[in-house]
């Protein structure tokens, strides 16, 4: 179970990354932590001709607090994000999600940007950036651009990144005092990809909930928001919540697919349970606010 032979380039700068990407196009793959790419290559499901190691590119590193956003470098390893006080303070949803990502040794190598670019439908982070309305900063031969998380993910293992582009960083809007957050997933074992998961943030003022974002993962081709359910929650007094109505709205939003061992119907039930638990948690958080 050895990968096919490939070239290896350790990029010293972002320019070098972009140059090699431009020259080699879809023959090249960016190697960040490698925790998803290398197993795929070991199984020979992927056989890129060249790997561009971006671990030494300083422009991709670091966690930075800006005016109203938290900027997380694409090359930040999960363990850095997990342990960063800035993340806990300004993006608690991400902090809550991090321990659910695989296991410690994987988190030591795997990267924030790598997880987003891999776009695994069952991964936690795509749902988090979706729930947070984060913006992804990209660079490429046609110049830098910034794109909403909503537009970044196209499908299973598919993003809007062109062959010659690389993810630089992610801007996460800082959490506000009225925000409430919820993250949970139903997984068969600790660290497994979930059967269904929910990353959610909302605003609660005087018991009323607004700006609800419900981002589900492991239930479709990509992490997905639930607009009907969000709408059903919009502006209601949490203590008057009609859980059944919200649950049926979720069924209108999403028809989860079957995976190997979990039917779409079971996933839907789990999504509804997670949503109810989220709203209960919001009510508690709102009461304390």
């Amino acid at each position: 179970m050895k990968p096919t032979a490939f070239e290896y380039v350790r990029a010293g700068s972002l320019d070098e990354v972009l140059t090699v990407l431009e020259e080699r196009g879809d023959e090249a793959k960016v190697l960040a932590g490698g925790q998803s790419l290398i197993p795929t290559m070991n199984m020979r499901f992927a056989a890129p001709e060249v790997l561009i190691d971006i671990s030494g590119v300083t422009e991709l590193r670091g966690i930075e607090v800006r005016d109203d956003v938290l900027r997380i470098g694409a090359m930040c390893r999960h363990v850095e994000v997990l342990n960063a006080p800035e993340v806990a303070e300004h993006a608690p949803l991400i902090a809550m999600a991090m321990p659910n990502i695989a296991h410690a040794a994987i988190r030591n190598r795997g990267t924030f940007g790598g997880s987003l670019c891999h776009a695994d439908p069952a991964a936690e982070l795509p749902a988090c950036v979706l729930a947070l309305d984060a913006r992804l900063n990209i660079d490429g031969k046609s110049g830098p651009r910034s794109i909403s998380a909503r537009d970044f993910f196209l499908g299973t293992y598919m993003t809007c990144l062109a062959d010659d582009e690389v993810l630089i960083s992610v801007d996460v809007p800082k959490v506000m005092s009225e925000n409430v957050t919820f993250f949970d997933e139903v997984a068969r074992r600790r660290g497994d990809y979930a059967m269904a998961g929910l990353a959610s943030q909302a605003t609660v003022r005087s018991g009323f909930i607004t700006d609800v974002r419900l981002a589900f993962f492991a239930v479709g081709e990509v992490a997905v928001r639930a607009p009907h359910a969000e709408q059903a929650l919009q502006g209601i007094l949490l203590q008057d919540m009609d859980a059944d109505a919200i649950c049926s709205a979720i069924a209108d939003d999403i028809s989860p697919f079957d995976d190997l061992t979990t039917s779409g119907a079971a996933k839907l039930t789990m999504m509804q349970v997670l949503t109810r638990r989220a709203v209960e948690s919001f009510a508690k958080q709102g009461a304390h606010a």
Binding site: M1, K2, P3, T4, A5, F6, E7, Y8, R10, L31, G34, Q35, I38, P39, N42, M43, L51, D53, S55, V79, A102, H103, A104, A105, I106, N108, R109, R189, R190, G191
Partner: protein, 159 residues
């Protein structure tokens, strides 16, 4: 070029300069260097038998390329044994019979040691969660948890 690249990796404190194929995993590299305590159990990052330390943090040897570690420090079970940093864990594993076939043990020890460095008094649940990335097919895990819990207590008493 897919041909060999020259790299220098410090293995257990001793620098080794070698020409390696880019596709060579760190686990296979270390094994070829004679550090056969790094075991290869799945080659897709799930079982944890190839767990080693790269620059002080645990990593999967099968999901890391040797060329990625150019200029870095790598520690294997042989190094950790030599410098004594897991001696108490090794003793506790023996005392608790926290190993049977021994294939998972080197990775389990390095993972447990990392936990204890970060969390001096983990609960049994925390120990179980932290060790969840390392499969053991023989023990059923309880003896391993016992051993780690015992060492946490011992280390706390020492400090």
């Amino acid at each position: 070029m897919t041909g060999p690249l020259a790299i220098t990796i410090t293995i257990n404190g001793e620098p080794a300069t070698r020409a390696v194929e880019p596709r060579l995993s760190l686990a296979d590299f270390l094994r070829a260097e004679g550090f056969t305590g790094t075991h290869v159990g799945c080659e897709h990052g799930v079982c944890g038998a190839c767990t080693i330390r790269v620059d002080g943090r645990t990593a999967r040897g099968c999901l890391t390329l040797a060329v990625q570690c150019d200029g870095l420090e790598v520690e294997t079970i042989e190094g950790a044994t030599g410098n004594g940093c897991v001696a108490d864990l090794q003793d506790a594993f023996i005392e608790n019979n926290a190993l049977q076939c021994g294939f998972c043990t080197p990775g389990m020890l390095l993972t447990a040691d990392e936990l204890l460095q970060e969390n001096v008094s983990p609960t049994r649940t925390e120990i179980r969660e932290h060790l969840s990335g390392n499969y053991c097919r023989c023990t059923g895990y309880q003896a391993i948890v016992d051993a780690v819990e015992q060492v946490a207590r011992q280390r706390a008493e020492r400090t």
